[in-house]
């Protein structure tokens, strides 16, 4: 073996050692660098997470306290440190909407919607934003998507609330038919919760469905027998529907129950009490409520006397207040009515009324017409005249 060959061999060996050591050194450097980076990264991540948490909480509080602009800034910060935190995303979108930044909020929610098109909350927020933009079709579609969407927590309650909100919106838009449909679906799925029944009744009433509304009120106080507000609402509605018997009973009950829990329902001295008095008086005045014919005749005669007084007072009032053409215009119908009174006097004795149904109808018609005409000529009546006018109108409508 020559000297050169030996040197080359030695050099090769040294080169292998060199490379081996170099790789070991590289490995050591890589390991140290990795450990240092990992330590820094953990500290860095923890700090970021804390910033996200603090900012997110601040945003949540600001939104709850009605400071959406501050909430937006805080939530944006939170999201820049925890971009995938869904609760912050939803809160931010909500805050944007509440801050009047409709376009941004819509964009944000649309984007969230693209990720989760079946999310009930996102669809609800989109519906509200569409409402703000007066895009009824979009709003209704989004409400429906929200109702059929997925919800975290109690989905049944969320879906019902959204359905009621949709019904409110439809009522607001005068779409009473679809609103009633939504409400009836809600009614059919509603659990026995008196407050819910009452709320459903209120909405049905606003949607023009008095009969179903009354059923809900009845359901409400059936579920909670001391529910003064439900009695009061039912009493009012019954009064409005001409069912003065039930009106009196429920209003009485409302006042009685609310006396035990002041502030819970109608005030005894307020409107409810007046309605109760009116109900009682109407029951006394209404000939249709008479149990016997003599009683009926008595009521008709009593009503006739009240109407006659009203006519006389009205003629006098019209005669003194108007002159010339005006007087002629107002007194003319009154004179014609007075003539009818004179013509009917022969048939309006108690005996005649006891014998003849046609006479009963004639006198009752005259009473109704008198209250109606005097209300037009002399202004809205009060007291028994007002109640008679109410009875007159009900007779016309039913």
């Amino acid at each position: 073996m020559t000297t050169i060959e030996t040197e080359v061999k030695t050099s090769k060996r040294q080169l292998v050692i060199h490379d081996g050591l170099a790789f070991l050194a590289l490995l050591a450097v890589t390991g140290v660098l990795f450990a240092v980076t990992l330590f820094l990264f953990k500290s860095f991540s923890a700090h970021r997470a804390q910033i996200a948490l603090d900012s997110g909480e601040a945003g949540r509080v600001a939104l709850a306290q009605g400071r959406p602009a501050e909430a937006i800034a805080d939530l944006r910060t939170a999201l820049s440190y925890a971009p995938n935190e869904r609760s912050y995303q939803l809160l931010l979108a909500q805050a944007l909407g509440e801050d009047g930044r409709g376009e941004e909020a819509t964009n944000y929610f649309l984007n969230l919607w693209e990720q989760q098109p079946g999310d009930g909350f996102i669809n609800l927020q989109l519906a509200r934003l569409a409402r703000q933009r007066n895009q009824m079709a979009d709003a209704v579609n989004d409400y429906r998507a929200s109702i059929f969407g997925s919800w975290t927590g109690d989905g049944v309650v969320h879906r019902r609330d959204v359905r009621l909100e949709l019904a409110d919106y439809l009522i607001e838009q005068k779409e009473f038919g679809p609103a009633r449909t939504e409400l009836m679906i809600a009614v059919s799925n509603a659990p026995p919760i008196p407050e819910l029944s009452l709320a459903l009744g209120e909405r049905l009433l606003r949607a023009g469905d008095e009969a179903d509304a009354l059923k809900q009120y009845e359901k409400a106080f059936a579920e909670k027998p001391d529910y003064a507000l439900a009695y009061e609402r039912a009493g009012r509605l019954a009064y409005r529907m001409g069912d003065y018997g039930n009106a009196r009973a429920w209003l009485e009950k409302a006042l009685r129950e609310s006396a035990g829990a002041p502030g819970d329902a109608a005030e005894p001295q307020g409107d409810t009490a007046t309605l109760l008095k009116n109900s009682e008086r109407l029951l006394a005045l209404d000939p249709a409520r008479a149990a016997t014919r003599p009683d009926r005749v008595t009521r008709i005669l009593n009503d006739r006397a009240i109407a006659r007084k009203r006519l006389d007072a009205c003629v006098k009032q019209a005669g003194s207040a108007n002159t010339g053409t005006q007087a002629f215009d107002s007194l003319g119908p009154l004179a014609a009515l007075a003539a009818r009174w004179t013509a009917a006097s022969a048939d309006s004795s108690r005996d005649a009324l006891m014998r003849n149904d046609a006479s009963l109808d004639l006198v009752r018609g005259l009473t109704d017409d008198t209250e109606d005409l005097t209300a037009q000529v002399c202004g809205a009546p009060t007291g028994d005249d007002a109640l008679l006018l109410l009875l007159a109108h009900r007779a016309t409508h039913y």
């Binding site: 170099a22 800034a73 693209e114 990720q115």
Partner: protein, 588 residues
């Protein structure tokens, strides 16, 4: 690296004493080390890039606060003060850290044999982190690319590799750095090939891939699999939306043009100013960029990834998106032209994302039938600006595909990118990185030009008719002598073609043939054919579609080259002479 230094100091002299270089002692050593070192380069680059991003985020929180918002005074004074520090450090401590890092890496590759100093790597890391963290409108990707290249340069130097390998390692490290910064290995590999090396080279591709994948694995072990921003849901494409994407391509092309023109105008003017004023330029740029943030658009400060994420998730209104795109162009032009170290990738992606989201948002609000997501537009917008401004069309397409992980955007990406790229090419013929090198007095190879040159001339472009005598190789020498003598009497040709067996050809000079005939004997001529007397060598079989330049080495041996038909064995399309090739290259 201390251990490596010790080894370098102790072992290398012994090797040198043997009178031979390591490459000579162990020829296969470098090849063996190459792939293993690539993995180390990838891992270390990945770790450094993770640290670099952390440094940026830490500095941002420390200097600008966790939630930068308009009307915060520090938005103005922090970038300005950081600008002063950056200017002083750049001038007196780290003079090589100016610029983005892409051109510096190319310069290292083409001028200084892949050498990037450790000081440059440290300076790039620190000053870029300070610049971006303090709110200068620049990005971390290009510095990451240079940091990776620097790591590769350092490791390969310490391993005592040859000059050739040192040069190759720079792009390997660059790919690793960029891959970790982007969290997208394919895009990084393509960018380095498209913009730094300029060509596909089998020798280096394996190493680049290994390093890029290793660095991305490291980066993902820290940051997770998502890139710098969350990828939005990509909805199925409605073909009518292609029109909107075409508009995006148009708008992106124009925006990239404005951006490039602004940089091309301001940068040389600021660099031509007196030296003392250059110390103030980063400060002034910081003041102006901070002013933009102070008066309402803090999103334009820094790299802007959060804003990109928000744009992609539809969190900005149309007008804000347009304003952000415009002011990002302004802010980046100021920051970059002032010599503040930092990259152009993130601002480019930012502008693209804003423009894309603006078009997506517009479409969503005014054309209800179309349901394309804003995020898809923002994503395509990024690719559009990448293609048009950085002039890396292939990378731009793959970047969007890789980042989105969704193949359904391919059509819009190609359409929009092509439109933007063409607009940019027509109206701004010199790519931006090349423009910067020219402004710096360097003339690095233009990758765009190289790409086009590659598709240049082929044999068919210089092919001439067969104007020389053609002989049959199967003729006996006596017959052949007659044919040759007659042919050359009627022609001034100096060469001839001999058709041999197996569809092969032999291009012979006249002198060569005359020498054969002069040496022939009477016994020979009855038995020996012309073909036999030419020996075993045959002219290589070549076809018209081969690159013209590849013909040149053959003219040392052959007077002309017969060009064969690919369909008919042995049939010729024409012949090629050295004069024909040179004439073609001279454009005659």
């Amino acid at each position: 690296m201390e251990a490596a230094t010790v080894i370098e100091e102790n072992v290398a002299p012994v090797i040198k004493e043997a009178g031979q270089s390591p490459a000579e002692i162990a020829p296969a050593r470098e090849e063996r080390l190459f792939l293993l070192l690539s993995i180390f380069i990838g891992v270390i680059s990945g770790l450094l890039v993770v640290s670099f991003r952390m440094a940026i985020d830490w500095l941002s929180v420390l200097l600008l606060g966790p939630s930068p918002a308009p009307r915060q005074p520090r938005l103005v004074f922090v970038p300005a003060l950081a600008g002063i520090a950056i200017a002083l450090l750049t001038r007196y401590v780290f003079p090589m850290v100016r610029g983005s890092g892409v051109n510096q890496t190319k310069a290292a590759l083409y001028i200084s044999n892949g050498y990037i100093s450790i000081r440059t790597v440290i300076g790039k890391f620190l000053l870029s982190a300070l610049a971006i963290g303090s709110g200068h409108s620049l990005g971390p990707e290009d510095p990451s690319l240079q940091i990776g290249a620097g790591v590769a340069s350092l490791i390969s130097r310490k391993m005592g590799l040859s000059r050739e390998k040192l040069r190759i390692f720079a792009p390997v490290g660059a790919a690793a750095g960029l891959a970790a910064a982007f969290n997208a290995p394919i895009s990084a590999i393509l960018f380095v090939i498209e913009e730094v090396i300029g060509q596909w080279s089998a020798g280096v591709l394996g190493s680049i891939v290994l390093a890029a994948v290793a660095s991305v694995v490291v980066a993902r072990s820290f940051w997770g699999s998502e890139p710098m921003f969350r990828i939005p849901t990509i909805t199925a494409l409605d073909s009518r939306e292609l029109l909107a994407y075409a508009v995006l391509g148009l708008v992106g092309g124009v925006a990239s043009l404005v951006f490039a023109k602004s940089l091309g105008y301001l940068r040389p003017r600021l660099r031509a100013m007196p030296a003392w004023s250059q110390l103030l330029q980063p400060c002034l740029a910081g003041l102006l960029v901070g002013g933009i943030g102070y008066f309402g658009l803090p999103q334009v400060m820094g790299a802007g990834y959060e804003a990109m994420d928000q744009a992609m998730h539809g969190q900005f209104a149309f007008k804000i998106l347009i304003l952000l795109a415009i002011f990002k162009i302004v802010a980046t032009t100021l920051s970059f032209s002032s010599g503040t170290p930092g990259g152009m990738f993130a601002p480019t992606l930012f502008i693209g994302a804003m423009l894309g989201a603006a078009i997506g948002s517009f479409e969503k609000h005014y054309i209800h039938d179309l349901t394309g997501s804003t995020g898809s537009y923002a994503l395509v917008g990024m690719g559009v600006l990448f293609a048009a401004f950085l002039r890396a069309p292939l990378t731009s397409v793959f970047m969007v595909l890789e980042v989105s992980g969704n193949y359904s955007v391919i059509l819009p990406v190609i359409l929009a990118n092509t439109i933007a790229y063409l607009i940019s090419r027509v109206l701004q013929p010199v790519p931006i990185f090349e423009l910067f090198t020219h402004q710096d007095g360097l003339y690095l190879p233009s990758m765009e030009e190289q790409r086009e040159e590659k598709a240049d001339l082929h044999f068919e472009d210089a092919l001439g008719p067969i104007g020389v005598p053609v002989f049959k190789g199967s003729e006996s020498l006596v017959d052949a002598r007659k044919s040759v003598t007659e042919a050359f009497e009627n022609s001034d040709a100096t060469a001839a073609l001999v058709q041999c067996r197996d569809a092969a050809w032999y291009a012979a000079t006249r002198k060569e043939l005359e020498a054969i005939f002069a040496a022939m004997t009477e016994i020979q001529d009855t038995k020996q054919t012309l073909e036999d007397s030419l020996g075993p060598d045959r002219t290589p079989i070549m076809f018209p579609d081969q690159p013209l330049a590849s013909a040149l080495p053959y003219f040392r041996r052959w007077p002309l080259l017969p060009i064969s038909n690919r369909a008919m064995r042995g049939a010729l399309e024409g012949v090629l002479s050295q004069a024909d090739v040179i004439r073609r290259y001279q454009g005659m």
